[in-house]
């Protein structure tokens, strides 16, 4: 990746960009620039203004004030299509592809070459092949439906689509959030190809290691302002975190004394339709047990099996009830909830929350009896419950009746957690609870997990982010191909060992 030199005109430059939505100031003076062939990281907590800045750059919302220039010429896109015509394309976190159409059709969508309305199939195929070739991914079959590709390959298709539009600046929003390690390597490779051709990349990520790995420079946003740009090679991660939150890194993983007690949940020979394949685990009171592994290793499936959302192919799930009896769980989620087991879904948007409902309604969703009498809902009690959890978890919201859809990612996650706690669950199954949320909210969630464990709950914690597993957990197990291949005390692991265990010996 090229060395940024100060003498050249930057590809993109922003000066004093401001944007308000009603009374909320989203951007309050952003200065940054991207050079040709540079990967420029954009980091900051949720609510720091990253999304708004991306939307301004990609033409979704206009800036109120400030100057943007592209290649030295003024740049004020009024729609994504207009931005694309200037060569600025955004790759969204949730990929924007038509799953029923082929690879070729997706790459050429909207810019198909045609004569009198009829597609020129050879020209379109070569357009798609060229774009994929530039990413060295000519191996992707042009005629395959995109819905049948892996997530990583889909992302490549979306990048190829940007290239087919002669993109000069590509904005990537959390591009690795759902990628496996192998796909990540593929993505980084594609990014290297882009920069070698002089394309600029704005790389938005919550993962500082990633920023350190792929970016040349990084700009930190805080409260809608750019607070600093650093050459990644010259700066320690701790410094970036300090810029982002003004907090010191040692405080990130709080740990209070947590006496480990008797096993609350014992899983033996757990097997599902495909994964896991014979999982054995014991989760003890006061313990946070981490599950590491690659995507597809069977971690999410294990949690869903334990919670009764997937059919059990084999194995037993036994629980020590609050009454001190051992209870074997055999039915569905309702049974789990009754016995105080709770699951936090990895898919906050679709499964974790009912986005159309209010904060308070979401909180009481799994425990309607707490707010009803003889089947009649007591709306006052719903509001009270909402208010209580806003206070206890520090949820930032207008009030208990605020629509869940309008909360930020971190606050949405807290609402989902509040719902678990409202059911008074003792065994918490948390699937990627910090995915896609800002560092500040992450730290708060770590603190909450620590407090719950110290209070005698047991937590099974699935995460793809090794540092947090190591920082938060008492023990960490690594899953590979549906089995737990190794379980150690957290102190006996380091990230390299976790990665090695997760990927397995080279075959």
């Amino acid at each position: 990746m090229n060395d940024p030199a100060s003498t050249v005109t930057p590809l993109l430059e922003t000066r004093g960009v401001r944007k308000r939505f009603g009374s909320t100031v989203a951007l309050d003076g952003v200065d940054f620039d991207v050079l040709r062939g540079e990967v420029h990281g954009l980091i900051g907590e949720n609510g720091a203004g990253k999304s708004t800045l991306m939307h301004v750059l990609s033409g979704l919302v206009p800036a109120d004030a400030g100057a943007l220039s592209l290649d030295g010429a003024p740049y004020r896109p009024r729609s994504p299509a207009q931005a694309a015509r200037r060569g600025v394309v955004m790759i969204h976190q949730e990929l924007r592809l038509a799953p029923h159409l082929t690879v070729e059709a997706n790459v050429t969508l909207g810019i198909e070459s045609a004569a009198a309305g009829f597609l020129k199939s050879r020209a379109n195929a070569s357009m798609a092949r060229e774009a994929l070739g530039r990413l060295r991914r000519g191996d992707l079959p042009l005629g395959r439906r995109v819905g049948e590709l892996s997530i990583g390959d889909r992302q490549i298709v979306e990048i190829a689509r940007a290239l087919a539009r002669r993109a000069r600046l590509i904005i990537m929003d959390e591009p690795t959030s759902s990628l496996s390690q192998a796909d990540k390597a593929g993505l980084y490779d594609a990014i290297r190809r882009l920069t070698a051709e002089g394309v600029g990349v704005v790389y938005i990520s919550h993962f500082l290691e990633e920023v350190a790995e792929v970016c040349d420079r990084a700009t930190v946003l805080r409260d809608g302002r750019s607070v600093g740009t650093r050459r990644v090679a010259d700066v320690a991660a701790a410094e970036l975190i300090r810029l982002m939150v003004g907090r010191r890194i040692e405080e990130v993983f709080p740990r209070s004394p947590r006496p480990i007690g008797e096993p609350l949940l014992a899983v033996a020979g757990l097997a599902g339709r495909e994964a896991p394949r014979g999982l054995n685990l014991q989760l003890r009171r006061g313990e946070i047990l981490g599950l590491a592994g690659l995507i597809g290793a069977g971690r999410t499936e294990s949690l869903r099996l334990i919670f009764g959302l997937e059919p059990l192919a084999a194995g037993t799930i036994r629980l020590l009830t609050a009454g001190g009896q051992v209870k074997q769980l055999r039915r569905g989620a309702a049974e789990r909830l009754r016995w105080r087991v709770g699951l936090l879904s990895e898919d906050r948007q679709r499964e974790g929350l009912a986005l159309g409902l209010s904060l308070a309604e979401n909180v009481v969703l799994a425990a309607p009896r707490t707010v009803s009498r003889l089947g009649w809902l007591r709306t006052g009690a719903v509001r009270t419950a909402g208010r209580r959890w806003i206070e206890r978890l520090g949820i930032r919201a207008e009030g208990p009746l605020a629509p869940a859809a309008r909360l930020s990612g971190g606050n949405q996650q807290k609402v989902a957690l509040a719902r678990l706690l409202h059911t008074e669950a003792d065994v918490l199954l948390l699937d990627e609870p910090t995915r896609g949320i800002d560092i500040g909210s992450k730290v708060e969630i770590y603190r909450l997990m620590d407090a719950w464990a110290a209070a005698g709950k047991a937590i099974l914690f699935v995460s793809s982010y090794f540092p947090e597993l190591l920082g938060v957990c008492d023990r960490v197990g690594v899953m590979r191909r549906g089995e737990c291949v190794e379980l150690r005390d957290a102190a006996a692991w380091d990230p390299a060992a976790l990665l090695a265990a997760a990927t397995g010996p080279p075959s």
């Binding site: 038509a98 997706n106 395959r144 390597a185």
Partner: protein
């Protein structure tokens, strides 16, 4: 970057095998239906005359279903088909009654149907009303308009060649089948080409597959949707002309519930109401399966109520099978 000992796993070539299997599965279904009734009624069912009759009976549903295929692939639905068919018969009959030449009468019928479709599209895209509700409203509105135009009665026009389009035996022997059947084949071929070979067709699929993606890629989503509904209206109108030809009169109360047969044909043919999925060949086979079932049941003497139950079961079974196969291949 870490040179992990990992290469992307090769994805098995599944797509082509899968789509061939679905098309084949549907065709097998059609053959099974024909074989079943041929065995049950060997005298009456498998005859050239009867097959001609079935083909002619399929024409109306099949032509209207071509439009509905486009609509459903785009992620929408059109409930106004039956009403538009009725309006078309009334408009054409009134024009003939007023002494207009048959060509003009047909054109007026088609234009009024196209207009209804355009209105559907505008209500959906401009007023931002979901297709189900918009076309539900239009279903009642257009039916009422047809009755108003016809003053609540059937309209009896003088004889014209329009009545030959749907004769059960072709008006000229060299035609082999009635002109309506040829028209159906023509419309199906054209729709198929539009879907597979034109920019418009590809964009219709893109919108049904992921509207956000289509928008992001600069596709004029509203304009294309409007056009899809207008086309569907015009094709329903063409079906309406066939209906007129069959009845030889304008009847504002005809084709009540036709839209459900049309949707059933698309769905049996593999169309998905969540959009992106559907094919012309599938729809055509779906329409024929429905008609052969009806005809066969009549030949065998199964009464109407039981026929309805069989068809209902078939619709559910077809979709259930599709989903099971999709799960297996996913």
């Amino acid at each position: 970057m870490s040179p992990l000992p990992l290469t992307p796993a090769p994805v098995p070539a599944r797509r082509s095998a899968w789509s061939r299997w679905t098309a084949l599965g549907r065709f097998t279904g059609l053959v099974l239906v024909i074989a079943l009734f041929s065995a049950l009624a060997p005298e009456a069912f498998p005859t050239l005359t009867n097959f001609r009759t079935v083909a002619t009976q399929t024409v109306i549903v099949a032509i209207a279903a071509m439009g509905a295929t486009l609509v459903i692939i785009s992620g929408g639905i059109d409930l106004s088909v039956g009403s538009v068919v009725a309006l078309t018969t009334v408009v054409a009959a009134l024009a003939l009654q007023a002494g207009q030449p048959p060509v003009l009468a047909a054109a007026l019928g088609l234009a009024s149907a196209g207009l209804c479709g355009l209105l559907n599209g505008l209500i959906i895209t401009r007023l931002r009303i979901v297709p189900f509700i918009a076309t539900l409203g239009m279903m009642s509105l257009v039916r009422g308009a047809a009755k108003l135009l016809a003053k609540g009665e059937t309209v009896r026009p003088p004889f014209s060649w329009l009545e030959d389009l749907m004769s059960k035996t072709p008006p000229r022997p060299w035609m082999l089948v009635s002109p309506g059947v040829w028209l159906m084949i023509l419309v199906a071929t054209a729709t198929s080409i539009v879907l597979a070979r034109t920019v418009f067709g590809r964009r219709v699929v893109a919108i049904g597959s992921s509207e956000a993606t289509a928008r992001l890629c600069g596709i004029p989503v509203e304009r294309i949707k409007t056009l899809v509904y207008a086309l569907a209206g015009a094709l329903a109108g063409l079906g309406g002309l066939m209906q007129f030809s069959r009845l030889t009169l304008g009847d504002p109360t005809v084709a009540v519930g036709l839209e459900l047969d049309v949707i059933a044909a698309v769905v049996i043919g593999g169309g998905s109401l969540s959009g992106g999925e559907g094919s012309v060949m599938g729809t055509l086979i779906g329409a024929f399966i429905l008609q052969f079932l009806r005809n066969g049941c009549n030949q065998v003497g199964v009464d109407n109520y039981v026929q309805d139950m069989i068809i209902g079961g078939l619709i559910i079974a077809a979709v259930a099978l599709d989903q099971a196969r999709r799960r297996l291949s996913a």
